[in-house]
């Protein structure tokens, strides 16, 4: 039956992505002390997760289109098109991290919570850059493997990056918060 097919095809993947999100959520659970010590840190969590997902799935889907257009392939991967995509994704990450940090600080300030702006913004920028670099590398590895096997990248990069994206982003935020707490 039609309904049965739909459940069979999409339920496992959605449950699997949910399990990935549990890993991301548990990272948040471990960060309790940091969240208490750094006011404003919890404000950036939804934004940083959503933005990372948007930027990396767009990156993955552009590489998918480039593959279909014949611009990149398994034996022609590291070229100028890919470099432009990587640069674009990195600059975009840097730019949105600054906006997230600034808006988190400004909105908290208006609501009467007074975070340390320098600390908060450096944590977001650091987390944004670290997760962008890791996820870009991961995307290229995934794309390379997909090309090599002759699969369609459009079917694979989206869910794979969404799942890894949450985990990598939360771990980067955790790491950056610890680093900034220690250094500053």
């Amino acid at each position: 039956m039609y309904a049965k097919e739909m459940v069979k095809q999409s339920l496992p993947l959605i449950v699997f992505c949910g399990l990935g999100a549990i890993v991301a959520g548990s990272t948040l659970g471990i960060m309790i002390d940091l969240l208490r010590e750094i006011p404003g840190l919890i404000v950036v969590v939804p934004a940083i997760i959503a933005i990372r997902g948007n930027i990396s799935t767009a990156f993955g889907s552009r590489l998918g289109s480039a593959y279909h257009l014949g611009i990149i392939g398994a034996d022609n991967l590291w070229n100028e098109e890919l470099k432009q995509n990587i640069l674009g994704s990195l600059f975009l990450s840097l730019f949105v991290s600054v906006i997230i940090g600034f808006l988190a600080y400004a909105s908290s300030f208006i609501l009467g919570v007074y975070p340390n702006p320098f600390k908060l913004i450096s944590i977001v920028i650091l987390a944004g850059l670290i997760s962008a670099i890791i996820l870009n590398l991961l995307t290229i590895v995934i794309i390379y493997l997909v090309f090599k096997r002759g699969f369609d990248p459009d079917n694979i990069t989206g869910p794979a990056l969404a799942t890894f994206g949450d985990i990598v982003t939360m771990l980067s935020l955790f790491g950056s918060a610890i680093l900034v707490e220690v250094v500053l």
């Binding site: 459940v7 449950v15 404000v43 432009q84 674009g88 600059f91 975009l92």
Partner: protein
Amino acid sequence: MIYSWKKIVKHGIPLLTLTILIEIFAGQILQGKQESLLLFPVFLISIPVINSISGNIGSVLGARLASGLHVGYIKLSLKDKEMQDNLLISILIGLITYLILAIVIYFIALFGNLIEDIALIEFIAIIVLTGFFLICVVSFISVLTAFISFKRGLDPDDMVAPVVTTVGDIMGIVFLFTVIGLVGVGI
């Protein structure tokens, strides 16, 4: 060369900035409830999960509607049987997923000593009820977004995913705290 980093940045910024504004709003709700969340970390763990499921279900539904509209087997009417079937099945898949993951989260939290005074049944009730409200809203928004964008000659494939994930992130947090208030676990 068809890609340039400047174009990628320029095209990405408007939508991303709008998303950030809405997500910061979601973040401020979390900050307002921070004390309760730190006392009941099991709900802190649940937030990315609640949002991930609704985002995925809304996106899958949107992609299916988009294909149906493009090919022509779904008509642009709220009475379309095919669309209604897709909507119902999405809600069903959502309920099953929330149930499974609520149990997984509960036992992970139990294992990590993060559960305080919440019974398994109580926790499942909170997550599944939150999920049910959320999936209904997200699926409905997915249908509306797909229909409206298709009607205006835009590709629903580009529109649905960003809209449903952003709306889902906000509504997920709102519904979670509403349901916790209704069930009353003292948070």
